[in-house]
């Protein structure tokens, strides 16, 4: 751990708060996306894809556990991973809005997954160099899993996009519908800026073109059209969510809310 960047964190409450929020955002995106993928278990079009999506859900929830445990420690108010996952309401969740969007059909899920896998590839690669070595270690671990995920999602994007007329039209429609949420992926705010200045997080302005280039490469292979950029009304990372998150949480948090403190 670098004393150079750690010391100011501990002294400055605003910096500590930003550090907490930065890690919670990453953890929430993994958690919410993992929960969404879990909804596919028993419903995917083929056994292999069912196993695949469940495996990714497991990886993402594992990443969320590491990140939320760490966030709880940074916050220093005694909240552990379970308190953060199960006892916060939607406005306190800070995931990317894209992650909470409903599954739709298999192609829709693949498009959402591929957009976010490709985002995580850049974020985790950048975080490997973080001055926060614990966050860097989590990112290095997650990056290897994310490569596997992106290989799967980009592979399916290409199969479906360059497949039949029906599959092409369905994934293009999914892309057109989900694209508006991508504006949030690299929109830096005060939290990102503070973390970048402390060398804890990579500069989003440097990651965005790399993400964009990879997206374009896959879209070309998939014979899909990149939709036009849209205005950006959602700020999931700041707790302003679409209506879908609350419904998802009511399902995800049901047991812990109904039986507070339950153990099994």
């Amino acid at each position: 751990m670098s004393a150079r960047t750690r010391a100011p964190n501990e002294r400055d409450p605003a910096q500590q708060e930003a550090h907490f929020r930065y890690v919670v955002r990453l953890g929430d995106t993994s958690l919410v996306l993992g929960q969404r993928l879990g909804e596919w278990v028993g419903h995917a079009p083929a056994l292999e894809e069912d196993l695949g999506l469940a495996n990714f859900a497991l990886d993402l929830i594992g990443q969320a556990r590491l990140l939320l445990t760490y966030a709880g420690e940074l916050e220093g108010r005694g909240r552990d991973e379970d308190a953060l996952a199960f006892l916060r309401d939607a406005p306190e969740f800070a995931n990317l809005t894209l992650a909470e969007q409903p599954n739709g059909d298999f192609g829709h899920t693949i498009v959402r997954q591929w957009l976010l896998d490709t985002w995580q590839l850049e974020i985790y690669a950048g975080l490997q160099e973080s001055a926060d070595t614990r966050l860097g270690a989590i990112a290095a671990k997650a990056l290897r899993e994310t490569r596997y995920h992106q290989r799967f999602s980009s592979g399916w994007l290409i199969r479906l996009g360059d497949g039949t007329e029906e599959s092409h039209d369905r994934v293009q429609a999914a892309l057109d519908s989900l694209w508006r949420f991508t504006a949030e992926l690299f929109a830096a705010d005060d939290v990102d800026e503070r973390m970048r200045a402390a060398a804890i997080a990579p500069a989003l302005t440097e990651l965005a073109p790399r993400w964009s280039a990879r997206i374009d490469e896959d879209l070309r292979a998939a014979t899909l059209e990149r939709p036009a950029a849209r205005p950006y009304p959602w700020h999931g990372r700041r707790g302003v969510h679409t209506e879908h998150l609350g419904h998802m949480l009511s399902d995800m948090q049901h047991l812990q809310r109904t039986y507070p403190g339950v153990r099994w």
Partner: protein
């Protein structure tokens, strides 16, 4: 004051103890074979520290392994040992020991073959040797298998299906 040689000898005993703790999902492998025991050391106060690393972030076996290690240490009279999670450097299939690879193969699971994972494309399946007949003429049935660390293959020579321990 513990004499260094004796201390080192004791640590050897701990490693031997841990080499008896099986991986819950592939019991033919011990956690030492799997390469997830990162360190065994004593701090200046004489307390034992055992460092474990997860294979996959979400591997459900991680908790079971912690409990099994704790039980093994308790049984050996080392109840005050500290279990630590070590994330860096991340575990990869290259941490699997040579003994572990041999045991996997004897058990009918093909050990990992390609050291580097290309981020590109689903259909570039690695070439895997059949653990039963040794044929290289095999095909991937599913990139995902019964646990996060395995894929499913089939041998086209002997026709047997088999698990492949994925390269991560």
């Amino acid at each position: 004051m513990i004499e260094p040689v004796a201390a080192a000898g004791r640590e050897q005993l701990i490693w031997a103890l841990l080499a008896e703790v099986p991986d819950p999902e592939i019991p033919v492998l011990s956690i030492v074979d799997l390469g997830i025991v990162r360190h065994v050391r004593r701090d200046p106060d004489g307390r034992l520290h055992v460092g474990l690393t997860p294979t996959y972030s979400g591997c459900p076996a991680t908790e079971v392994i912690r409990v099994a290690v704790r039980a093994a240490l308790d049984a050996a009279g080392l109840a005050d040992a500290v279990l630590e999670e070590v994330l860096s450097p991340p575990w990869t299939s290259e941490w699997l020991t040579e003994a572990g690879r041999t045991k996997l193969k004897a058990f009918g699971i093909a050990p990992p073959e390609e050291p580097v994972l290309s981020p590109r494309r689903l259909w570039h399946a690695p070439l895997v040797t059949c653990p039963r007949c040794g044929s290289r003429v095999t095909e991937r049935v599913s990139e995902f298998g019964s646990t996060p660390c395995k894929a499913h293959y089939r041998c086209r020579a002997c026709q047997e299906p088999f698990d492949y321990f994925k390269c991560l």
